[in-house]
């Protein structure tokens, strides 16, 4: 029963929001290019779904690749930091500073370095999603139970053994938290990258579909692209969440 409610309640909320949207539009006679009706948004998609599906695939694959690269390099960086205090002290503050640079400000540079297209888009996804992975993994690597650390010391374990057999397994829960956050951010980074570096045309990603919709005053198409972008982000997040909770089951006491 509670399970049914859990799925059912947000559906009701969604229905209410759509109804309010519709009612608002009709009541205040809002023009279509400002706020299309839910129906015309649905129609914009259903009339010709193909470019949107291609857009989803394009954006989704860039976000997934960006996420995976961020996961690999983020975990690697956190591991190196955790093994060497000196490397961490000299690199981590700079990394934090870099994180503060607005993505929109460096996105044009990415185009200079990687050219227009997927390279710069994936790079943008990596930049946005790598920091929570580094920060959470590092926190987890440092959070090994001091009593277990003492046990390993008593058993005369070397630094590498402590790291591999104690720190890494202890870091798994917070590493997975970082990955979940990153999964959501990767899509945001991808869309931002597409705004600057995406190609229009047959393989246009969602970010470009948003832009062309805006230029042609097809606000209903903008809505479709935005909603699909949210859906892609959610799908990636859900995929990572589900696989991480399956993995976590072994780790939780």
């Amino acid at each position: 029963m509670t399970q049914v409610l859990r799925i059912f309640s947000p559906c009701i909320t969604l229905a209410v929001v759509v109804l309010l949207w519709w009612a608002g539009k009709v009541l205040f006679e809002v023009q279509d290019f400002v706020l299309p009706s839910p129906w015309s948004v649905a129609q914009a998609f259903l009339v010709d779904p193909k470019p949107f599906m291609i857009g989803c695939l394009e954006t989704g694959s860039c976000a997934a690749i960006g996420f995976l690269l961020a996961a690999v390099f983020g975990i690697l960086a956190a591991s190196i930091f955790s093994l060497s205090r000196r490397v961490e002290q000299s690199v981590y503050p700079i990394a934090l500073l870099l994180q503060m640079v607005p993505l929109i400000a460096i996105a044009p540079l990415l185009v200079v370095w990687f050219g227009y297209g997927r390279g710069a888009i994936v790079a943008s996804a990596v930049i946005v999603s790598i920091f929570p992975i580094i920060a959470n993994t590092l926190a987890g690597l440092r959070a090994a139970d001091p009593k277990l650390v003492e046990l390993f010391t008593l058993l005369r374990a070397g630094r590498i053994a402590v790291w591999w057999k104690l720190s890494i397994p202890s870091a798994v829960p917070s590493m997975l938290t970082g990955l979940r956050i990153a999964a959501g951010l990767a899509t945001i980074g991808t869309i931002a990258g597409e705004f600057i570096a995406g190609f229009a045309g047959n393989n246009a990603p969602l970010g470009i579909l948003v832009m062309t919709g805006l230029r042609n005053f097809q606000t209903d198409r903008v809505f479709v692209a935005v909603l699909l972008a949210a859906l892609v982000g959610f799908a990636l997040f859900a995929l990572v969440s589900v696989s991480s909770s399956l993995l976590l089951r072994r780790w939780c006491k």
Partner: protein, 253 residues
């Protein structure tokens, strides 16, 4: 009883800043003997145990150990939550580079000693508190130490589980005859388990009484035997008089 000394402390003093944890303590633990250290909480018993195990160095005085093969059992089981019972118990062997097949065989033998063979594939969260403690004893025994140092190992267990484990530990010791040193604040437990009970004064710890307990096997019935009760009363009186004497000294100064 002409055992040679396994551990001997001579006029051992340990200071932490201004705090004197132990003062002029001299004691010997015979090879194959079971010695209990009892005293009020915070009296410096754990400091003594850490000194015996080489985890800490005395400020003055000397500590001698006839051989280096020792293992600790702590108040908490300190198991790795992501490992099975078998791999937890095998950890000390794994860290000293014993091959997989051999360490699993030896871990299984140690697990059999604490009668947990049917739980070998379970993880710590699938074990009761008492079973986790038994697992931690198996892990201590797996490397066949000649000296077992136990720091209030059953303090967090309920009364029934505690009696059961005390019985098993005594039986294990009677069979294997390793040297054992037990820290506890329970007088009945000390008298039940050990051959000799050393009573510590409140901090700074000094040995104020040595009480030999009745020899021979223990069963759960001997918990209330009159011989053990006499020893227990003796130990309690020694501890109480040390406490009142220390209180009088404090009041006088």
């Amino acid at each position: 009883m002409t055992h040679s000394a396994h551990i001997s402390l001579e006029r051992v003093t340990r200071r932490f800043g201004n705090v004197v944890a132990t003062e002029n303590v001299s004691l010997t633990v015979p090879v194959g003997g079971f010695t209990a250290l009892i005293g009020p909480s915070g009296c410096g018993k754990t400091t003594l145990l850490r000194l015996m195990g080489g985890l800490d160095q005395p400020t003055s005085g000397s500590v001698h150990r006839s051989d280096a093969s020792l293992a600790f059992v702590f108040q908490e089981p300190r198991l790795l939550p992501w490992r099975t019972l078998l791999d937890n118990v095998a950890l000390p062997l794994e860290l000293s580079g014993v091959s997989r097949a051999e360490r699993h065989a030896r871990a299984a033998a140690a697990i059999a000693l604490v009668r947990m063979s049917d739980a070998i594939t379970r993880t710590p969260d699938q074990l009761s508190g008492g079973m986790r403690m038994r697992a931690s004893i198996a892990r201590a025994l797996v490397s066949r130490p000649t000296l077992l140092l136990l720091d209030e190992p059953f303090a967090s267990l309920d009364e029934v589980a505690r009696h059961e484990l005390d019985g098993e530990l005594r039986e294990l010791w009677e069979r294997e005859r390793f040297t054992a040193v037990l820290i506890t604040h329970s007088v009945p437990e000390a008298v039940f388990l050990a051959e000799e009970v050393l009573v510590c004064s409140p901090q700074p710890a000094r040995i104020v009484a040595r009480i030999a307990t009745p020899p021979g096997a223990r069963t759960h019935m001997t918990w209330t035997s009159s011989a053990l009760n006499t020893a227990a009363r003796e130990a309690s009186e020694a501890m109480l008089s040390a406490i009142t004497e220390r209180a009088r000294e404090r009041a006088a100064s």
